[in-house]
Amino acid sequence: MSLYLLAVALAAVSGLPGLVLRRRGGEVAAGLMGLAAVLGIAAAVRVLAGGAAGRLMLPAAPLGSPGLLVLDPIAAWFLMPVLLLSACGAVFGLGYWGERPGARLLRLVFGGLTASLALLVAAAHPLVFLLGWEGMAIAAFLLVMAEDRKAETRRAGWIYLVATHTGTLCLFAAFGVLAAQGAGAFAVLPRGFAASGSGTAVFVLCLLAFGFKAGVMPLHLWLPPAHAAAPSHVSALMSGVLIKMGILGLVRLLSWIPDPPLWWGAVLLCLGALSGILGVAFALGQHDLKRLLAYHSIENIGIILLGLGLGTLGKSLGHPVLQVLGYAGALLHVLNHSLFKGLLFLSAGSVAHATGTRNLDSLGGLGHRMPWTSGAFLAGAWAICGLPPLNGFVSEWFLYLGSFRALALSRWPWSVGVLAALVLIGALALACFAKAFGAVFLGLARTPAAEGVHESPRSMLVPMGVLVLACALIGLAPALVAPALDRVVGALGPPAAAGLPALSGLAGLSLLSLLALAFLGLALVLGLWLRPRRQAAALPTWDCGYAAPSARMQYTASSFADGPVSGLRWVLLPRIHRGKVRGLFPGPAHFERHVPDPVLDRAADPALRLSVRGLSLLRFAQGGQLPVYLLYVLLTLLTLLVWMVV
């Protein structure tokens, strides 16, 4: 526990020396963050390896009920990606952000965000949880606003702030309902509570609160603009860890409920399938590399929810196998997604740093000039598509196994739906990353910006390398994390049932490792065998004899993704602007296709515009006179007092 507290303190103060040091403040911050990561991960690993959970308790008097911070297996599991990604992000920021104006403040707030996240995962009292939650929300808002001179960034920041506070409001209400029932949060609730009316209210409020944070499909509106606007190492932390705090909240809720009703699992499954499929479908239509990755975060949250839904169904129906496979898949995917999505955002940041643009159609051909970045991006893309032998495959493997088991157990239609959703998500993700990788790293440079680039400095490549290694480690040796997963799943299960089956017996993990190694060996042999004997000459692509090929005659990102996007146009509703092509020798024409966000651009924005028109009638109340505002406070206070007494 002291290791954990030391890690939190180090992360919190990591930006402070930089405020007074004239030089090297970034290096000091990164060093402190690295130290925090080593200490905190050591504490987490000790708990996950079976050590006693660390506790820091306060007496009940000031807080209403006892409890402060508990480093139990769930907290330890979520703590690992928090600290790993923060340390990687802090090191990456050295080269990426450098000493631009505002760098000191950025480092300070980055440390604050890490500390809030680390406190949040171990919170064992509603007050501590809310403190961590708000600290996280506000620090992230400040980080998104790092480049607040751009109008686009300011818009993204405000949307994020509104969304996160709407979620927090629901969270307050949820804790309020729990407290009103006399059921203290952060303790196992009595049986029968979940099926009652207030249990339903708590579940719905938690879904809203945590759904906003996690970016579950209809509530994801803040996610793509904020991830695109933030500096890349911040996007990595937000996408990798911050949105997972929504999942942490759901996991905590499920761990307090011994008997979830059947429909909870069904709702989680439906939301998961919706987020997963729509997330990846909208990712296909994006032109901005970081927006594309942001939509993939929504997709992966969907996959995690599918796992949580399966596990919850298993818990309600009393099928321990289903429960273990579903929860283990979801939890492992939480870790995996933070690793590979952090990796992808860092490589996208490396691309943006080198070229100054994130637009897929302005890039191209970077693979030759930035081999390490392109390798890292490829590894991340490989993992996120769920291909063996990297880590994304392992967690999706658990989910596939879980839904097959469910099919064998009771022949529900649900499990067929889960299987179909998983397959569809996997296939579309593969198409999307083929598009992204191809447009950025293969072919020829489309603009001068993409032509004269250099590989990023080592301080940016090393964090990416660390994440690639972590992805490969989990992919090649999943048996290493299985005992830890068993403990976390055990913390989620009903407290009395000690007899949950172990994961290694269910999923054939050693066989998986063997197959992965064999696959890797085969690939290596094939690669060596097929390697060209002589240095190949660099020639243009065969262009059917056309005399003057240029870089513009390549597939663009839009044309590559045209098949799936046109096929899904009844969902995506793309906006197309194009010139007419007439006659035999047509003049220049243009073609543009945007896929606007279904919630933000099609629903929330018009609705808000409309409500602004109505609400402007109320502007007389904002007179700008301070005493009048104070009078409002006084009148409210009086009304409340009188109402309370009479």
């Binding site: 008097a61 006179q625 104070l630 009078l631």
Partner: protein, 211 residues
């Protein structure tokens, strides 16, 4: 000294504050009220706890010396002596203050409080002081007077906090810290910034900042 006497004196300071037009006198009244408040825990017979004695000393030091010192310095700095042309005149303010005091007696009588050893008039006095602070905040134009109003409001909250002083001394002590915070921050920000921005401490100018 009985607590009821102190409470009566505190209520009297409320009325004096509302009726005064000189800023210097308003600060003086706030000092007197601060010292009276500081003595409250002793009058309530809690003087045998060491940390409560410490709290008394801290409250008197902050409310009776530090904040008035800062206020007087600001007063010398801005060279204003009277509150001219307040939003609500002095007679009406006095009547409103009386109405507020009456209302707080009624409210406190009906508030569902735990029956205990607290002096009978502590809660009405807390509410009345709170209302008076609000009244000064709402009705005066000069930033300095508004700060005094805020301090009196804060005093009301402190009085209410005394209900809890035996159970949660930390909470009440944090309240004193909040006073200090306000003293420094409100003064620094409101007074100096309005003056540098508008060349006056009249808060009317803040209306120009509205969206």
């Amino acid at each position: 000294m009985s607590p009821d006497l102190l409470i009566a004196l505190i209520m009297l300071t409320n009325f004096t504050l509302v009726a005064t037009s000189r800023i210097n006198k308003a600060i003086q009244v706030a000092v007197v009220q601060g010292v009276l408040l500081g003595l409250m825990p002793i009058a309530m017979g809690l003087g045998h706890h060491a940390h409560i004695l410490f709290m008394v000393a801290a409250a008197i030091a902050v409310k009776g010396w530090l904040i008035p010192f800062l206020l007087r310095r600001a007063l010398r700095h801005v060279q204003i002596h009277r509150e001219i042309d307040p939003y609500i005149g002095y007679t009406v303010s006095l009547l409103l203050c009386a109405a507020g005091t009456g209302l707080s007696l009624v409210l406190a009588h009906n508030l569902p409080l735990k029956a205990g050893t607290t002096p009978t008039y502590l809660v009405p006095a807390a509410l009345a002081t709170l209302f008076t602070g609000f009244l000064v905040l709402v009705s005066r134009r000069k930033a300095l007077t508004q700060v005094v109003g805020y301090l009196v409001l804060e005093n009301g909250i402190y009085l209410f906090g005394l209900l809890l002083v035996e159970d949660m001394p930390v909470l009440v002590e944090t309240g004193i810290l909040l006073d200090l915070f306000v003293g420094v921050f409100v003064m620094g920000i409101v007074i100096n910034h309005i003056r540098t921005a508008f060349d006056s401490t009249d808060t009317r100018h803040l209306a120009e900042l509205k969206d």
